[in-house]
């Protein structure tokens, strides 16, 4: 079954939906960094030190991301091979959206962002927790948890904020097509489809714009103070 085109798309859709779910959870926690820094610190410490999160959810997430982009590359390669001689004139915009025709481009930008994001947050976390062995999550200077302060510090840089904003715009484009497309891939089509598609389109805009808001909030806050 895994060798068929429909099975590959089914797997692509499931991994995509899983990432969509994760994105919502990530957004919820990040939003608390704006409205309730203490809650953000508590949640970050929980996520960073809870055994279940670290030993089960985190590997599943990493597998999900890696599976998704590798399958994306495989599909893209096969699809290119399926049209071995190209058209001299091809009017893609006449019958399909830019987002749907360029999932690999939006995907690659997201991948580049993930590399940056890992260097920014994940590698320092691994370093502090597992190499230095400091699982306390406390600031060296004292005065509570370090997570919120680290986050605020990261968004002081213009360049980083610009990179994040660009990545989230492309994430919105990726999800604009991808989220609704995944329902079709799993064969879901009935009287609820219209409503679900509208929900997916709203989600595709609201969540990335929300992430952009959080990044800009911390950046502007830094500029003002």
């Amino acid at each position: 079954m895994t060798s068929s085109s429909i099975a590959r798309k089914f797997a692509m859709a499931l991994s995509g939906l899983f990432l969509v779910l994760f994105l919502g959870q990530h957004f919820t926690i990040n939003l608390t960094s704006v409205i309730a820094p203490d809650t953000f610190n508590n949640w970050s410490h929980f996520m960073g030190t809870n055994f279940l999160v670290q030993a089960v959810l985190q590997p599943v997430l990493i597998f999900g991301v890696v599976f998704h982009f590798i399958m994306g590359f495989i599909l893209e390669l096969q699809n290119r091979r399926a049209r071995n001689v190209g058209y001299a004139s091809y009017k893609g915009s006449a019958n399909a959206s830019w987002a749907s025709r360029n999932m690999i481009i939006s995907g690659l930008v997201i991948l580049a962002f993930l590399v940056l994001h890992f260097i920014d947050f994940w590698i320092p976390e691994l370093n502090i927790k597992y190499l230095q062995g400091d699982m306390s999550g406390l600031l060296e200077s004292g005065g509570g948890y370090r997570y919120h302060e680290e986050l605020v510090h990261k968004f002081e840089s213009h360049l980083r904020v610009i990179a994040y904003v660009i990545a989230f715009v492309l994430l919105a484009i990726h999800l604009w097509h991808g989220f609704a497309s995944s329902f079709q891939s799993v064969g879901f089509n009935n009287k609820y489809s219209k409503g679900l598609t509208s929900f997916a389109k709203v989600y595709a805009i609201v969540i990335p714009v929300g992430f952009i808001f959080i990044a800009l909030y911390h950046h502007i806050n830094h500029l003002i103070h």
């Binding site: 079954m1 060798s3 068929s4 085109s5 429909i6 099975a7 590959r8 798309k9 089914f10 599909l75 096969q78 699809n79 091979r81 399926a82 049209r83 071995n84 001689v85 190209g86 058209y87 001299a88 004139s89 091809y90 009017k91 893609g92 006449a94 019958n95 399909a96 959206s97 749907s100 025709r101 999932m103 097509h177 497309s181 329902f183 079709q184 891939s185 799993v186 064969g187 879901f188 089509n189």
Partner: protein, 248 residues
């Protein structure tokens, strides 16, 4: 009207092809696109040149033979029509029109604008039928009642003429819309349910074997399909396929 035609010319499957320019004059808006090509070919033949080879048969939008990628779209800029139904009034005096064969690894060029679409026949042969013995045993078509919505949806799927515009339009050269139409027309009817699982598995397997691309759900096929075959058929085929593979 006066036009410049840029046409893909290719001697045979093995030859390297290329675009050639042909000026043409005296084209009327009431002519069909194929009649316009007939005019060109008459001129080429009277000059002793090789006429442009293209597929056509019924010239009334029911056989699916005529193909052609016209200015980057299968069957040209109009909607819900085949190339034989495309009127020259869709173009303006002085226009340049690029005419290419439908492009897909699974549709190799035979000559010029004519491609080999027998991959569709093989998909159909893999399961696009029901096994009934009809010799001397004809069954009344109305003996099994079918509910109206199912009959209508099945009929809509069955209007697919196998032209290949869906493949030509798709950025991935995917044959999902065609295969989904052929799966759906049977899957919706009681007569087709008996072999539904093996049908969808075999037809999808053949579709993949022919080298068509995967579906990205861009929807280009539905927009370009001369018969308005709906994307819902693809969702139905995905559903049928997934449940058939789970059953083993």
């Amino acid at each position: 009207m006066k036009l410049t035609l840029k046409i893909w010319r290719q001697e045979n499957a093995a030859a390297k092809g290329g675009i050639q320019s042909y000026p043409i004059d005296g084209i009327e808006g009431d002519m069909s696109f194929l009649e316009m090509l007939d005019v060109l070919n008459e001129q080429l033949i009277s000059k002793g040149d090789d006429p442009v080879v293209f597929d056509h048969d019924c010239r009334e939008g029911i056989c699916g033979s005529c193909s052609l990628q016209i200015n980057g779209e299968p069957h040209g800029p109009d909607r819900l029509i085949t190339t034989c139904q495309l009127h020259m009034r869709m173009f303006k005096d002085g226009d340049t029109i690029t005419i290419e064969p439908f492009r897909a690894a699974a549709f190799p060029v035979i000559k010029d604008l004519m491609v080999d679409r027998t991959a569709f026949d093989r998909i159909q042969q893999a399961g696009g039928y029901i096994s009934v013995n009809t010799s001397g045993n004809t069954i009344d078509a109305n003996a099994i009642p079918v509910n109206k919505e199912d009959a209508d949806e099945s009929f809509n799927a069955a209007t697919c003429i196998g032209c290949g515009a869906c493949v030509a339009a798709c950025k991935n050269a995917s044959a999902m819309l065609f295969t989904a139409a052929k799966v759906s027309q049977f899957a919706l009817l009681p007569q087709g349910k008996v072999e539904a699982a093996t049908r969808v598995l075999n037809m999808v397997e053949q579709m993949d074997k022919e080298g068509f691309g995967n579906c990205t759900n861009t929807g280009a096929c539905e927009v370009e399909c001369p018969k308005g075959i709906s994307l819902e058929n693809i969702a139905r085929m995905n559903r049928e396929y997934l449940s058939a593979s789970l059953k083993g």
